[in-house]
């Protein structure tokens, strides 16, 4: 007889999505085990910049992010760490098309009572002396935005989860999802079985492989991402509360980090990773960019256009990792219709850190109540059954790569919204 442990829920993946879900489930009294293939928070989570821009094109996503900040503020005293750094955020436009985008965003934000307004260019120049601003035609500013510090967020989830009885197993890759007549029965990992009526696939870039363990399909793809962090330079001081900046024309985002500046890029030709080809003990924190990486060169080039003092000779570190994209850049959160007890929680398309506080809550509601206090239509796990060609892996990958490549490039048109408000 194989030795088995039992729980109410097994979470596959110890990144922010899995850790937040585990913490919330345990808060409702569930007995939860998190199985992580490497170390907790060491995958995409550990490579994230954590930028929090609350205003999204979709009103319900905006609500989730606003509520997420409230959740984080509750976690901070419980865990004794500072997670949210409120720096404010800017979007800048150097073309009429981008100015139209900004105007629409300001209107949309104001219509739901979100604190956002245009900022005069001379004010932008005054606030960000280290940034080129003479080519800008418009900008908007959200004072309540900022970033979440990924490491602190992870430690808060773990600490509070532990207090609530969550068990964490690291270096424990799940190799089998146990099924019995359409029901999930648990998983097996390292030759041990873990029995539970609920299994959550929070595997990030590995999520599509986890789905295959249950003979299911999940249309996510693993996409490479790069950002640079300059070393503090007395000639270019960056205050720790300088606003984050999004510059969609150049495909870059930026925020302060330890006296230097983080600049990241949604590259137009991102690299696709085949997770199956990576070794079992793959450690994302050891990923490195080649000295002649075309993505890094494009990143430095774009950074230089906005911050002329950044060149290939600037002392900097390059961080590279893998993010999980979906064909519509929205996550898959919720249950699979044909496998009772199997839930997905993956595909955050570069927004996992900031979505995780609310997503954990939503996942716990979907798992324990079968329904959520949020409208989850746009993130439902089974929506891809309506996507043409979702069974064709190559097609899915092409769509995800294209979505990632157009992510900052496309002109955004916010959805028409009516009366979104927080009701948590």
């Amino acid at each position: 007889m194989i030795k088995a442990q039992t729980a109410d829920a097994i979470i596959i993946g110890g990144g922010v999505a899995g850790l937040s879900t585990a913490m919330q489930l345990a808060g409702r009294g569930a007995d939860v085990v998190v199985l992580e293939r490497e170390r907790l928070g060491n995958g995409s989570t550990g490579r994230a910049a954590g930028l929090l821009g609350q205003l999204r094109g979709n009103a319900e996503h905006t609500r989730m992010l606003i509520d997420g900040v409230a959740i984080v503020k509750e976690l901070e005293p419980l865990a004794g760490v500072e997670i949210f750094v409120q720096t404010g955020s800017l979007r800048i436009a150097e073309s009429p098309e981008r100015a139209t985008e900004i105007a629409a965003l300001v209107d949309m934000g104001k219509s739901i009572g979100f604190d956002i307004d245009h900022m005069p260019i001379d004010e932008v120049a005054r606030r960000l002396p280290y940034m080129r601003s003479d080519d800008l035609v418009d900008a908007c500013y959200c004072p309540t935005d900022g970033h979440l510090q990924p490491a602190e967020l992870v430690s808060a989830y773990i600490k509070i989860g532990k207090d609530r009885g969550v068990k964490y197993k690291t270096h424990t890759p799940v190799t089998e999802i146990l099924l019995e007549s359409g029901h999930v029965r648990g998983v097996s990992a390292l030759g041990e079985q873990y029995h539970a009526p609920v299994v959550v696939n929070a595997g990030g870039p590995w999520s599509y492989l986890n789905a295959e363990l249950a003979d299911a399909v999940l249309p996510t793809a693993a996409i490479g991402h790069y950002y640079l962090t300059t070393r503090p330079d007395p000639a270019q001081p960056v205050h720790r509360l300088s606003p984050a900046v999004r510059n969609r024309n150049l495909r870059i985002y930026t925020r302060p980090e330890s006296g230097g500046l983080i600049v990241g890029m949604y590259d137009e030709e991102p690299d696709l990773h085949d997770m199956r080809k990576l070794p079992m003990d793959f450690d994302m924190s050891r990923m490195k960019a080649a000295r002649d990486s075309i993505q890094v060169a494009r990143l430095i080039d774009a950074a230089h256009q906005r911050f002329p003092w950044i060149t290939e000779r600037t002392p900097m570190t390059i961080t590279t990792g893998i993010m999980t994209f979906t064909p519509d850049a929205r996550p898959f959160c919720g249950k699979m219709p044909d496998i009772e007890g199997l839930f997905h929680c993956a595909g955050f398309s570069g927004h996992g850190i900031v979505q995780s506080p609310a997503i954990g809550l939503i996942m716990s509601q979907l798992i324990l109540d079968g329904t959520s206090s949020y409208d989850v239509t746009s993130i439902e796990a089974d929506r891809y059954f309506d996507m043409p060609g979702f069974l064709d892996r190559a097609d899915i990958e092409a769509k995800c790569v294209s979505m990632a490549g157009n992510y900052y490039g496309k002109i955004e048109r916010p959805e028409v919204v009516t009366g979104a408000h927080s009701s948590r």
Partner: protein, 252 residues
């Protein structure tokens, strides 16, 4: 001025490196290869010299090994070398034979300076620069953490166990570089574009007239034991007993 920089292709040692089962080599299936980090520093220094001096400076990258070396030489070209030389050689090489091949390249190219990493991070031999200086009968400065060119002389700060030693030597000379000399750059878009058109010459060990005579043979590789075994002990007495019986430390 002409500066020759040697480029060794090594597995990225920040990855988990293990020996193959039979101990004959290192398992490199999933390991990316990079320019030996010390050689990247040497290359960066040469490129900076070329950017700093008013006279034209020719930076030439040279790599010795199988066809796969081309990848790292292209990287060197993207980082700013003007041209590259690939010494195609399928023999297993030790530092002595690498130095002999480099001498042949130096005699062909007649550079004013040979810049190279103080050692390669795969075998940590720290011998090639010294061998080469002896073979050429050139002055050498090892472990450079600062380098200044002053006409036909160079001034080098060397890191020693006790502090910084400053030396002056005439050119031509061999300089091996240490970690703190500079921070190598990532290639720019312009650098990557230009690299595609830069010359990468191939020459074989036979064409250089060097017969490889191995002096050192690698017998076996064994992985370092990185497993940490932790145990909580109940008393100092128990610790002393375990140290005495299991580790073999004698009580005073």
């Amino acid at each position: 001025m002409k500066i020759l920089v040697s480029i060794k292709r090594v597995p990225d040692t920040d990855q988990k490196i293990v020996a193959t089962q039979d101990g004959a080599s290192v398992a490199v299936d999933h390991i990316p290869f990079v320019i030996n980090p010390f050689d990247a520093i040497a290359l960066e220094e040469a490129v900076r010299i070329s950017e700093l001096l008013t006279e034209p400076v020719d930076v030439i990258a040279v790599g010795i090994g199988e066809d796969s070396y081309e990848q790292q030489l292209r990287t060197a070209l993207a980082m700013g070398a003007a041209r590259a030389i690939h010494v195609r050689c399928s023999h297993r090489l030790d530092p002595w034979n690498v130095a002999r091949l480099l001498r042949a390249v130096v005699e062909r190219e007649q550079p004013n300076m040979m810049l190279m990493g103080k050692q390669a991070v795969d075998d940590d031999a720290n011998q090639t620069g010294q061998f080469l200086a002896a073979l050429l009968d050139w002055p050498q400065a090892t472990f450079a953490s600062r380098l200044e060119i002053d006409g036909q002389q160079i001034r080098v700060e060397r890191e020693t166990d006790h502090g910084i030693e400053t030396v002056k030597l005439p050119l031509p000379a061999v300089v091996t570089v240490d970690l703190r000399l500079n921070e190598p750059r990532y290639a720019s878009m312009a650098g990557i574009m230009k690299a595609r058109k830069k010359p990468l010459d191939v020459v074989t060990d036979q064409e250089l007239g060097v017969a490889i005579e191995p002096r050192v043979e690698v017998i076996r590789y064994r992985s370092a034991d990185t497993q940490r075994r932790c145990e909580r002990l109940n008393s100092v007495d128990e610790l002393l007993e375990r140290l005495t019986n299991e580790v073999g430390i004698k009580r005073p």
